[in-house]
Amino acid sequence: MGVVDRGASGTHLAAREIVLCAVVGDNGRVKLYRDEAIVLRTHKLGEADRIVTLLTRNYGQVRAVAKGVRRTSSKFGARLEPFAVIDVQLYAGRSLDVITQVDTLAPHGRALGSDYSLFTTATAMAETADRLTEVPGEPATQQYLLLAGALRALADRRHPATLVLDSYLLRALAVGGWAPSFTECARCGESGPHRAFSAPVGGAVCMGCRPPGAASPAPETFALLGALLAGEWVSAEASEEKHRREASGLVAVYTQWHLERQLRSLRHVERA
């Protein structure tokens, strides 16, 4: 079993068969199913098991038990590390599903664990994905693709980590229904550019709609935020450090405002 990096960017859709082994239970439910997934986090369970939170490509967030993986004799353990992209087979249990087979598609854990800044950045992305896909049984394919792409960009060091994180957060929130506006006024729609930013209102605000306490970022910061949301890397990478810092601050405020509970990992992110 080699480590095959098939990529999760959606280019191989035709080659992917989704619902496979249909071992159907008495109630007609598919008992055994298979999917691509990203490991968001793991918890120790009992003596040697782990509960693994997965973001699957087709079934949304799944919490599953991985039996015996903390024993050093387990071959599964290494494949179920945070940030790994896997091909997984699960057995639908009564409360938690059980992982019966795992193959590695992209073992990002190695690359990310050996760089503290990348590790903390990846953790903040995984926690955000966890929050945005909390409703069990609700498919979240777009969130899956977004996270897979962001983790890969991070592991490959394709762009500066801080830009990858901020772009990921903005886009994940947009997919989740909290798309920010960085040009038109987020309240009245008046065309921009505007000078003020308000997280509660939803981004840029005109002078008329500007609530007290709104921030006044530099025009370049607004441009950077727009580029990050659109995934325009050339212009995002041309930005200056001070505007990156200002953008990161606004993205953090925007994210924490729109997610109900605070992200625990965001304050631990080391911005290189």
């Binding site: 986090r41 903390r70 024993r71 353990g77 590390e81 590790f119 903390t120 625990r264 631990h268």
Partner: protein
């Protein structure tokens, strides 16, 4: 929605708080206790209160100890130039079993795990730095768990220790990735000590 009256349910609830004990196991243990003879239950209760009253954490290394300083920190035959950093006190036990290591320990109290809100400041890293300040320790062996969080913790520590002129090494591969250090058998763990590699940053 408790299923049993008063104290029985209280016992089940308490047992259910223990790591690895689900509601069903909690119920099974509770009924085992109910049917056991009074003398045995009394011994269990005494052991619980005694351990809490007598055992604390070593003021130097963070290991469990019945004194202010643990047996290992007090032992003059231990090599004071060698320090092994582990996540939990139970990892000290696992490493001691190998009889490969003659230095002392530092127990961090976990690994960096931001998603659970655990950052560097929540571990005994500051205590480690204070301990290293006098220059007696010349080599630090990082023996955090061979998983992503353990690796990230090792990365973080290495970056802090290197500028201090300390040789930093990580337990060699051979420890299966994703596992807990405490489950590594003595031979594997012993070999990992033999073959520890210095970390270059």
């Amino acid at each position: 929605m408790s299923a049993y009256d008063g104290v029985v349910q209280e016992l089940i609830d308490e047992l259910g708080q223990l790591p690895g004990v689900g509601p069903k196991s909690a119920q099974r243990i509770a009924f085992h206790i109910l049917s056991a003879d009074t003398e045995r239950v009394h011994r269990l209760a005494t052991a619980l209160t005694e351990v809490k009253a007598r055992v604390r954490f070593c003021e130097i290394c963070g290991n469990v100890s019945e004194e202010d300083q643990c047996r290992i920190c007090r032992d003059p035959r231990r090599d004071g130039g060698l320090l092994c950093v582990v996540e939990e006190a139970k990892d000290v036990v696992a490493i001691e079993r190998t009889r490969e290591f003659r230095g002392r320990y530092h127990v961090l109290g976990g690994a960096i795990n931001p998603i659970d809100g655990v950052g560097p400041d929540d571990l005994r890293i500051r205590e480690l730095m204070t301990r290293l300040a006098d220059g007696e320790v010349t080599e630090v062996i990082i023996a955090t768990d061979p998983n992503v969080e353990g690796e990230a913790t090792a990365t973080y520590l290495t970056r802090m220790l290197r500028p201090m002129g300390i040789v930093v090494s990580r337990l060699a591969s051979g420890l299966p990735v994703g596992g807990d250090l405490e489950y590594a058998d003595e031979i594997t763990l012993g070999r990992a000590f033999e073959g520890r590699r210095s970390i270059d940053v």
